[in-house]
Symmetry: C2
Subunit: 363 residues, 2 copies
Amino acid sequence: MAQQHLEPTGPLTGPVGTVTGDALAGYLRSQATEFLRALRQHRESGGAAGAEDPADAARALRRSVRRISASLHTFRPLLDTDWSESLRPELAWLSGTLGMEHAYESRLERLLLALHRLSGAVFPAQGVGPTPRPAQGAAPTTRPTPGADPGPAPAPAPDRGNLTVGAAKAGALLDRQLTLARTRAHSTALQALGSSRFHAVADTIALLASEVPLVKTAAGTDLHPLAAAAQERLEDAVTALPLVTAGHPYNAEALIHGLSPDPSPHPQDAPWHQVRLLLRLHRYAREVLSPAVDVRLLTAGQCLDRHRDASEAAAAAASAARTPRIAPATAYALGVLHADQRHEVEAARFAFQQCWLKEAVST
Amino acid sequence: MAQQHLEPTGPLTGPVGTVTGDALAGYLRSQATEFLRALRQHRESGGAAGAEDPADAARALRRSVRRISASLHTFRPLLDTDWSESLRPELAWLSGTLGMEHAYESRLERLLLALHRLSGAVFPAQGVGPTPRPAQGAAPTTRPTPGADPGPAPAPAPDRGNLTVGAAKAGALLDRQLTLARTRAHSTALQALGSSRFHAVADTIALLASEVPLVKTAAGTDLHPLAAAAQERLEDAVTALPLVTAGHPYNAEALIHGLSPDPSPHPQDAPWHQVRLLLRLHRYAREVLSPAVDVRLLTAGQCLDRHRDASEAAAAAASAARTPRIAPATAYALGVLHADQRHEVEAARFAFQQCWLKEAVST
């Protein structure tokens, strides 16, 4: 595969301070190169003892896929339409498929840590957590294949000594459900990485590492207006958020509907999730223009990641509580856990509001 | 009964700006008069349609009892020892006995309102709440006597239309348990008001309305050092509170031990409850010295009242969840409710910290 662009070229500034399509081409080539490097690392680490962590390689794969996908979106007018329109859904599929295993793993870890915190247990930083994560890319024979019997439930997480019966049972139930989901996601990701669909995407990205299909006018086009439009979309979405409420600590908004008859995800979370995606697009667009990292933008993004993680963890606790025939003590613990994570949602909104306010003042 | 001191005389200031035992005597006489007035009002309102609310009379009774009791404590060296030492436990008994019914009633109302909020139900300010409170002093034949069969469960609170099955069942369970407790407290209070023990206390307070048993040196003694000592006890206790943590919104401290194996009340709440009592003693001591109301002190006290109420409501939800044979959905709703009230505890600590900080700056 093409290796001639291992060194990112960095943003190219034109004679009048503009950044043109050449910078976009350089950025896309370097991200494509990162993708190919991560893919090689992932294949080499698969199952081999002492190799680099396949989770790191999977993370690097997702990282470059997100950035290529975002650039295709933000700088769409500068790229060959047919090419980008056919690649974008493939990147979305790949990003979604590769991210599920990690999502289930970190969700379980978050919920088990919360259960320990709620039990007043003092626990070490290490040694508490879900069943060890299967190495993505490990020999498939050690993992159940999709559709096959998932096998015996994994051993419950260690260090439950200080938990009440309800908390311990809730932890075991979540461990069972989320480990099963993670195992399935692992199999799905392995299947995806071996599919002809994936190989087609990888070939397209390998070509991108040497040749970016820009439109003819791209070399003379300033990227700033397109990047500014991404920033405007973000700012418009932030303006529509209930930031005044979020800035009042303990406003008790996030737990409204906590016992609502509607079992669907909280509709109040959706605008925040949308801002999270728009903020990422804005951040990646800035990367194309300049290598400088905006720490406050990173922090704001982390607040919204925390918001999303807590929102999904709360939903997982609520969903586990709908398991038939669970004990009342288990259900009670899951109720406490759900409310705890919804308050984490509220706390994340407060943290975002504080962070965003600072940003607005300093710019 | 003595009526000659209906008008409070107000604080008496000595020639060198001091406030002496005479002011204490005036304060105690006016509080005793208030007690007698409330007692008469309570007896007149008992059961008679169109009469004043017996709850108002009961509140006024408790109000004066708390103030007399606090003065006996803070200004102990100025009062006849045998007299005050024998009266104080009687006032504590009376205050505790008269306060229970109201405590159960407001606890149930708080929990049902929270259940509605958590269900995302839009509810009117009126019409939602526990079963109508029995009038204290209403004909005892309409209430079960202690030890007797509590009879059929009261009708569930109205307006449960928007609640999930779990929330509705949790509400009905809490209504049943707390209404039963309130009914028993009502009977106990009625019995207490008819007891010879109560008549002895009322006689003592009737005498206090005309004659305060001061020690001989009281007339020449400045009250300020004793009041200052009460303030110091408060300030020392506040200093020992974890106010730095409380000042960080969403510190997640209050729900630690939310699933602890220990079913006793949260030990972390005790220092806050203690500050609540010391703040009240300080506030009442100030009343003896000056009629000026310190609004910030009132607000701080309300924060600690809210802290106490939420703490006890959370415990009631946890206790209801230990009822045998409840459905998992009921237990889940009670878990959410418990966590919600523990976050109210945390919110109240934050509000107190903010209030106290303001006070420290302005003095």
